[in-house]
């Protein structure tokens, strides 16, 4: 990305052309994967399997909402794993101690907001790169979890409402993908229609220019990181309901996979281009690919190679398309 000023109509049109393209690529890949999966195993198209896949995709998809917003601004949130773990354990413990589920979930969400605020302060006020700052935050939260639990999540109870949100059914539909769908719609509308959405893209493209045009870009970072913190907490709460427990390290799987989903979905890792519509495809691709490779009995090494190749191929493809905008 060059730092020269560009007139906004051209910028916007080029951006949307590119975004549509990246998104189109990821959806084509998704359709191909679905076809391959059904050919390999016709049971793949069964409603039971679709439900199971959507259920698994929900955790990644929701965490990837926050990660999409942060990556659009050119930053990254590496504090997700222990933010998720700490807040989930806090929720289950408070509920186990007799507080209502409102208090328990509220406290967990406050943790997410606080983590997001601190992340944003590091990036927006101290001007440190989020790669370092949020990694430090992650380590700090790991330590906090150890002190709070003394290594063993205290005897805890999972609120019924959390169980319902995670594994319940509503008229034959599993609830958690509905939660994801709701959050996804809100995210897509915010990105496409709101000033905050436009500022996210503009921050990733050219933060100084946005600042000089009179926008307090620090607040844009606050918005993105707080959203990411809250999404990690929501993902953690649903995971708690799914697994019927909280445990140390439960967030370890949710650092790189959601980031991969964002990148596969066509969002530029340097910020400024992409969006959540693509991330939805990216999330489903990641989940489907795992599933197909498992069913096809391809070992973990093979899986890693396939994953790596797809990410490299897509990043190369997107980079080629991005070049004309420079």
């Amino acid at each position: 990305m060059t730092t020269e000023m560009r007139s906004s109509p051209t910028l916007a049109s080029r951006l949307s052309a590119f975004t549509r393209h990246g998104v189109a690529v990821s959806y084509v890949l998704l359709v191909v994967l679905i076809i391959v999966a059904v050919i390999l195993n016709p049971a793949f198209a069964s409603w039971a399997n679709v439900k199971a896949q959507l259920q698994i995709a929900t955790f990644i998809g929701i965490i990837a909402i926050g990660q999409t917003l942060v990556i659009l601004t050119g930053q990254i949130d590496l504090s997700v794993p222990w933010n998720l773990t700490f807040s989930s354990i806090l929720m289950a413990t408070l509920y186990g101690q007799g507080y209502g589920f409102g208090v328990a979930i509220g406290a967990a969400l406050l943790v997410g907001i606080g983590v997001g605020l601190i992340n944003a302060i590091g990036v927006a006020v101290f001007r440190l790169h989020s790669l370092v700052w949020t990694l430090g935050m992650n380590a700090l939260l790991e330590g906090a979890t150890m002190v709070y639990t003394n290594g063993q999540p205290p005897d805890s109870t999972i609120p019924g409402v959390v169980r319902f949100l995670a594994v319940g059914n509503l008229g034959g539909m599993p609830v958690s993908p509905l939660v994801w769908a709701l959050l996804a719609v809100v995210t897509i509308i915010v990105l496409a229609r709101s000033r905050f959405g436009r500022f996210l893209y503009a921050t990733g493209n050219n933060e100084p220019a946005l600042f000089l045009s009179g926008v307090d870009t620090r607040l844009v970072h606050v918005g993105a990181f707080v959203a990411s913190g809250v999404c990690a907490v929501i993902g953690g709460i649903l995971l708690t309901g799914y697994a019927s427990q909280t445990y140390l390290g439960m967030g370890n799987d949710y650092l790189l996979v959601p980031i991969a989903a964002v990148i596969i979905g066509g969002t530029n890792i340097m910020g400024g281009a992409g969006g959540y519509v693509g991330t939805i495809a990216g999330t489903l691709i990641v989940v489907l690919l795992q599933s197909i490779l498992s069913v096809a009995q391809i070992g973990q090494a093979g899986k890693n190679i396939v994953f790596g190749l797809i990410i490299i191929a897509l990043v190369l493809l997107y980079a080629r398309q991005a070049r004309p905008t420079d």
Binding site: N41, A43, F44, S46, A48, N49, K51, A52, Q53, Q55, I56, E142, T145, M146, N150, G151, Q152, P153, P154, D155, S156, V167, L239, Y242, A243, S244, Q245, T246, Y247, L248, G249, M250, N252, D253, Q290, S291, S294, V295, Q297, G299, Q300, A301, N304
Partner: protein, 363 residues
């Protein structure tokens, strides 16, 4: 501590090892023996006896899971025992994270402070060898356990992962009559433990042509294991048995959530797994890596420092439970979280701990 038993154990162990060496299998601890040499060609070591009390340090790498925290807590509880306390001048446990360089720095610090022995759970099987050599040069004893190191300058204490994988597989073969679909929930790909356990399972299943296996990776993590199991179940295969290396609570829950009967499951030793077996009564074999390996390693270190002859590589017993042998408060704990690791005691070594004794220790 059972000193007499220890001496008998060594003698018996050598005999047992000589036998199992003939049939080409590493020795594992049989009933009634605590400190058993790993293999028939394991060399014995004996150092000049020193009189205590000793300075002991525990160098741990990653601390962010329940097994590791229990391991540290058990080590602390052990050093506070009446019969052990007089032998300990100081005991310090520190965790460096999974960075090899950080653990090297941590061990250097221990060497400089002049400890008598370092108990080590290593971030890498080979990456710490040079600093272990330095410790040996300084006359410091290094006992490595769980994630053991490759250098001969360290004594190793571990459970036989191949034997564990084999016993799980034997159980599954027994319960399924040697035919049907078996779900294999593997651990973290590329680790020694995962490879050894899986090699043993494939050796056993390979002898039964009517067994068809499906392999998935659960990363020894309940949430991950639950997801990949749900995935495997959703693809339509009916599984007659499960061989699982960890994350077993999640494996059972995936079957529950899919509305299926729970098949016979051989797995690790998480509290949630045993709680569910006790509640749902499905056939279960549970063998776990014991967090009390830390205490056993300290015991071995104290033996060597006091001049006892000890194998350079010790094979620790496998703590086993089945659905029929489950006893609340003894080998599973209904009031504790699912993630608690149950095999906190190694009775044959006199290492008996209660959950309360462990959990009151600071990590």
């Amino acid at each position: 501590m059972q000193r007499r038993q220890f001496i008998r154990g060594v003698a018996g162990g050598i005999a047992a090892t000589a036998f199992s060496g003939l049939i080409g299998r590493p020795a594992f601890a049989a009933a009634g023996e605590c400190i058993v040499p790993w293999a028939s060609d394991t060399k014995m070591i004996k150092r000049e006896a020193k009189s205590g009390p000793f300075n002991i340090a525990l160098s741990n790498s990653y601390i962010g899971n329940t097994w590791r925290t229990e391991m540290v807590q058990i080590a602390k509880a052990y050093t506070e025992r009446d019969e052990v306390k007089p032998l300990i001048k100081s005991f310090q446990a520190t965790s460096s994270g999974n960075e090899v360089s950080a653990q090297i720095a941590q061990m250097n610090q221990m060497i400089l402070s002049g400890v008598d022995a370092i108990i080590l759970n290593a971030a890498s099987p080979t990456g710490l060898n040079s600093v272990i050599d330095q410790a040996a040069d300084a006359g410091i004893l290094v006992v490595s356990f769980d994630n053991v190191v490759t250098t001969d300058n360290a004594v190793t204490v571990n459970q036989d992962q191949y034997e564990m994988g084999k016993q799980w597989a034997d159980f599954v073969v027994d319960k399924t009559g040697g035919n049907g679909n078996i779900l294999m929930v593997r651990g973290v790909a590329g680790t020694f433990v995962d490879q050894e356990r899986t090699r043993a399972a494939n050796d056993v299943f390979g002898k039964h042509p009517d067994i068809k296996t499906t392999e998935i990776y659960g990363n020894w993590d309940d949430g991950t294991a639950q997801k990949v199991t749900a995935n495997a179940l959703a693809s339509g295969t009916k599984f007659d048995g499960v061989w699982s290396q960890g994350g077993d609570t999640g494996v059972v829950r995936a079957f529950q959530q899919a509305g299926l009967d729970i098949p016979p499951i051989a797995g690790e030793a998480e509290n949630g797994f045993r709680k569910l077996a006790s509640e749902l009564k499905f056939p279960m074999l549970s063998i776990g890596q014991s967090p009390a390996l830390s205490a056993l390693s300290i015991m071995v270190a104290l033996d060597i420092l006091q001049g006892k002859e000890t194998p350079q590589s010790v094979s620790a017993p496998l703590p086993t439970a089945t659905t029929d042998t489950l006893k609340s408060g003894e080998n599973f704990f209904p009031e504790l979280p699912d993630s608690f690791f149950t095999p906190i005691s190694i009775p044959v070594c006199g290492l008996d701990f209660t959950a309360e004794q462990i959990l009151k220790q600071k990590v």
